[in-house]
Symmetry: none
Subunit: 221 residues, 4 copies
Amino acid sequence: MTIKSLFEYQIQNLFGGAYKYMVQRKGSLKERQRQEREQYILQAAEEIMLEKGYHHTSMDEIADRVGIAKGTLYLHFTRKEELAYALVEPKLNMFLESVQQARAYNGTAQEKLIYLLEKEMSGAFFQFMLRSDPDLASVFKAQQQRIDGLIAEIFGGIGKILDEGKEAGLFDRELPNEMMAFQFINMFDPHLYLKMVEQQQMSKETFIRHVAKVYLRGIER
Amino acid sequence: MTIKSLFEYQIQNLFGGAYKYMVQRKGSLKERQRQEREQYILQAAEEIMLEKGYHHTSMDEIADRVGIAKGTLYLHFTRKEELAYALVEPKLNMFLESVQQARAYNGTAQEKLIYLLEKEMSGAFFQFMLRSDPDLASVFKAQQQRIDGLIAEIFGGIGKILDEGKEAGLFDRELPNEMMAFQFINMFDPHLYLKMVEQQQMSKETFIRHVAKVYLRGIER
Amino acid sequence: MTIKSLFEYQIQNLFGGAYKYMVQRKGSLKERQRQEREQYILQAAEEIMLEKGYHHTSMDEIADRVGIAKGTLYLHFTRKEELAYALVEPKLNMFLESVQQARAYNGTAQEKLIYLLEKEMSGAFFQFMLRSDPDLASVFKAQQQRIDGLIAEIFGGIGKILDEGKEAGLFDRELPNEMMAFQFINMFDPHLYLKMVEQQQMSKETFIRHVAKVYLRGIER
Amino acid sequence: MTIKSLFEYQIQNLFGGAYKYMVQRKGSLKERQRQEREQYILQAAEEIMLEKGYHHTSMDEIADRVGIAKGTLYLHFTRKEELAYALVEPKLNMFLESVQQARAYNGTAQEKLIYLLEKEMSGAFFQFMLRSDPDLASVFKAQQQRIDGLIAEIFGGIGKILDEGKEAGLFDRELPNEMMAFQFINMFDPHLYLKMVEQQQMSKETFIRHVAKVYLRGIER
DNA sequence: CATGAATGAGGATTCATTCAT
DNA sequence: CATGAATGAATCCTCATTCAT
């Protein structure tokens, strides 16, 4: 086995709920209802897959939960695999967008990373990254390349910020960007978040502050 | 939906090959052969599941690889799920053992953590954690509790070391143990390891040194 | 099991394109357009079924090719099966017509058969019989009787010509009409035609001459 | 669409019951029972496919008729398509064998053809060719080549006999072998046989005599 | 009438598990 | 005990047909 993606673990965690941002192709009622139903399908699929895992989630059950016929699912997603992909992809895109905003943020490299942490830890990406289905990672075939591309872009963006910090003498030059970026991403660990914020009643702000502190201290020159 | 385990990610990574340490219940030839066969089964299952994922690994293929009849598998493991569990559990136990050795190690809290990093990054736990099957995590049901118990013990052990460090004024008292332990465990990220050591030709020692530096700096007072 | 039709093979081969001969029931524009659309549907259905076979031809694809909605198909044909029947029936009718013309042809029984061979081997019937969908034969249920009726008429007509020839002392009296008629029909074997004329570059005229020679010699007194 | 095989029509007709000739790999009871069951499966498949056509025959129904579980079918035939192929192939092989015996038969070319007619019209090939499923022809993919190969051999064998007859001055030299062979094969038309022998109470011998007469007269010099 | 979205029955195939030998 | 043949539940996907708009 080869690790399909440097970032496999996170990929698994990325699906979830920011469907509202999808563009409607037509303003017609029909089209709006179609879009709405697609959201319900995605929600149902997400819920069930998170509970049971991809392989134990049947198209039947998804359709049942949404209250539509099985065949209707296939009007929206040609394959079960496509449905799963539609769950994952927008989350990655949103994260990439945040990375780009962080790069454009007016401040030091450290501030940029904190900005990114804050933005994504509060955003849809992270909220839904919280509950992931590890099963999913073994599913994508045709889409793996597209996913890998997105991940590479995300890593690249973070790398640029790290370079900036190294040039400014803020970050330890000995550490390879790749490792630093990887560990940064690991800060978004949803299980840790769950444990601390939801179960231990730590505030989200405190959580982010702690995470930022550990990470930034860890990499500083 | 409930998160099956705080530690889901690691669970996935824990299975792998140190079956030889299992205790033989009887010295009889029959029993010894039985034990031996069980190891072969576990090895075969591990190999195939790592290559194809849990759900795409069939009992047929495992039996074939071992060279026994499919029915014989069921003399060892009542269910496919049990077989998977038998893959994961010893790895967790070994890790727990290492944690206990680290605690007993003669040195500062920091040295203990470095000891643990070095031990496990070179040990069977980590070696096999490297190539994990994300599929697995969605499988356990009956066994989840037992796994959670082991994980709690591991966390507890690391927490004791962290407490020691805090009392000695080495570690940041503001950070909760749980978070610190979690992030320590995240240092074992197999994807990062693969990326850096296997693909980028970084030596294992350098990798561990970097990881330790970032982590220990991050949590120091 | 019952053989659906004595003449199953030929049935399969009979559909094809002479829809233009269908009578329009009304002269109204609407009705004319309706008729026209029906022809397009039949053409499209024929094309696709010949390419893919009945069972692999979907109503969707037919509608798409015509450029109408799937539902509209059902305004013309209540079932897929009916559509297929509408493909086959006119070919049989045309053949029957040719048989009747052959009977009325001014000449010996032999000349009548040659007339029929020439007419149909050049006609729409045969042209489209050339490329048939064997799938079709397993489809008809309700319509089987109607088809059987047409076939019986065709056989009857050929039988009359054969009787004529026997009475004139031209044909072997020992051979039953049914067998002779059957073998005559077999002369229209589209696979043989394809093989000889299209693949081996034999001229259509030579082909007909050979076929007529073998058949007429075979049955002569 | 291109005609997949010169001989497509006949292919469809060739499946049926001479399974008893299959070689048993082991003499064990188990293996014998396995073979026996395979025959039952083939019989059931044949019966149902002849009644309903390939596409309307479900694996469920075949299993039901045999009285085994659906999964058991797949121990014998990996795909529905394979099952169909297993129905067709032995018939072609037997026919080919008969052709070779006819070539070796001690007599004139005409007598050889008569020998072949008699042998096959009484043999399993023809008996089961009687009831064919035209649906089948649209099914084979992987196997089409093998089938085409067999057919080419059959045609080649018949062609040799025809050459012999031409050289001996018995057959019309103007007629191409291919056409003659094709028309000879058409003499085996199962629908004609059914009509004459089963429905019209003609004896098999008379039927063969008539067929031979028409064909041999037709092609004679 | 025309549309095409929605339906859901139907069917092939897989594979964990059982059990007679 | 060991076997591996037999099972049948489970599941994805297709597509003819219906019907609200």
